[in-house]
Symmetry: C2
Subunit: 278 residues, 2 copies
């Protein structure tokens, strides 16, 4: 965890970093975030993350960032001596008068935290959430917002059932994603991923694999999951094989696909399957 | 706005009230809130608000509150000299390690703020949101959570169109509520309100009117809205007539209904229709 965080452009010890009690991020989840991987001191796919953030700022009417996020990220990595790990950039609409309607000219809160972690490669057992659905009819499904409670509910459900994570269906029963990652599914001899229109977050790793031609978009029903032979969950931070789905055992993804995906995503060679994260 | 807030049981000036930068309320919208009306020094429908909060704490797995909310509310009202106004109780899951999965034993953050305001009675012009939908398939639609971005989007849409508020439909196209209030609609000679199953928040004022037999639940399509002759939006804080819906002018609600609803809700007699809030 961060010992020092960058709050509105200033590095401060985490213990004194203070979010105002009238911050709309805290009161209404009125904000966005990006979680980025740091490898050998470099932020991976920075442009894609910043582009998604910019899209979110536009949709929510946040205006422009009051600082250079690249500089804030760099300062946070240096202060926490993170060479390999992750950095999170959180932007909320800041303070305001009470009520749903935002101020016309918000005073954004920008928080950057960083931590040393190794990309997780441990396999996951997943189930389909029965507790909640992802709302593909909201533009928020295409943004990485602070409204994470549906994912939290589904993750709790999975862990309570002895699983590692849950797949969340959209309101039409189509497959969307896991609670914090996109899905890569081996189906009919190819690799597919649910489309953004079905509620999949346009993840940066997913986008890179699409651009490289490694995967194609395909809308999937829950029934289609029965035909999956192998699968990954993929996020900016990690690529993890799924070893079971609703109790059905999946094959480990083939070595060629694994190597190709890791290469496209600039993921380091794992020291061994099942390696436990720091 | 609060000059003094109650943070985790302690009264502090708002300027020094500090939410930790790793608070899951800020990072993930992982929390709940209640907004309560204060009238002549009394909190209106306190039991109903606390019951809904307790339901939310249970669904989200928050455990029990670390303090007596009634005491914290009372202290906040006294410190801010609020006799007539509102008080907001916010509960987040507090700090935790990074990630979606909450800590097993969370250390909740409890914030209480208060302000002197007069119940708003000004009429509203509303439109149906085209921008987003309410996810009635999520248990969150039945809780008052910090995940308020869909409502914020719809409110922005309404204001941009020159309206006061938006009606949000659910994912099936059924009428749910406005961005921060329940709907009371005059249809076929009676007063109806969308059911919770359609995505309406189980509002405390709505519940009191149902219990008093003033309104009945009825599922409504957008087309049904064309048959509405009069309407209110109702929340814990206010009862406001809707004067137009998607540009169609509505009649003002009849005086008898208005008087009855206000009486059931313990709302003071307005000093005049159209009164502007303090």
């Amino acid at each position: 965890m961060s010992q020092h965080v960058n709050l509105n452009g200033v590095m401060v010890p985490v213990k004194v970093a203070c979010i105002a009690s009238n911050d709309r991020g805290f009161l209404l989840g009125d904000g966005l975030f990006e979680t980025l991987r740091v490898q050998s001191g470099q932020v991976v796919a920075l442009d894609r993350h910043l582009a998604r953030l910019a899209e979110g700022l536009e949709v929510l009417g946040f205006g422009v960032l009051p600082l250079d996020p690249v500089q804030a990220i760099a300062a946070t990595l240096v202060a926490n001596q993170v060479i390999n790990g992750m950095v999170r950039l959180t932007v909320s609409r800041g303070g305001g008068i009470r009520g749903v309607l935002p101020p016309e000219t918000p005073s954004l809160t920008v928080l950057v935290t960083a931590a040393t972690v190794v990309p997780v490669t441990t396999p996951q057992r997943v189930m389909v959430s029965r507790r909640t659905r992802r709302n593909e009819m909201s533009p928020l499904s295409r943004l990485k917002t602070l409204n994470y409670l549906d994912s939290i509910l589904a993750r709790q459900e999975a862990v309570a059932a002895g699983m590692d994570d849950a797949i969340v269906l959209n309101t039409k029963g189509r497959v969307a994603e896991t609670t914090s990652a996109n899905l890569l599914l081996r189906l009919d001899g190819g690799w597919v991923t649910p489309p953004v229109a079905d509620g999949a977050l346009p993840g940066t790793a997913r986008a890179r694999l699409l651009a490289a031609g490694c995967i194609v978009e395909r809308s999937l029903s829950e029934e289609d999951l029965g035909g999956i032979s192998a699968a990954f969950s993929v996020s900016a931070l990690s690529l993890r094989p799924l070893v079971s789905l609703n109790g059905k055992v999946l094959s480990l993804p083939d070595a060629d696909s694994t190597r190709t995906f890791r290469s496209v995503l600039d993921l380091p060679d794992p020291q061994g399957v099942g390696r436990v994260p720091l």
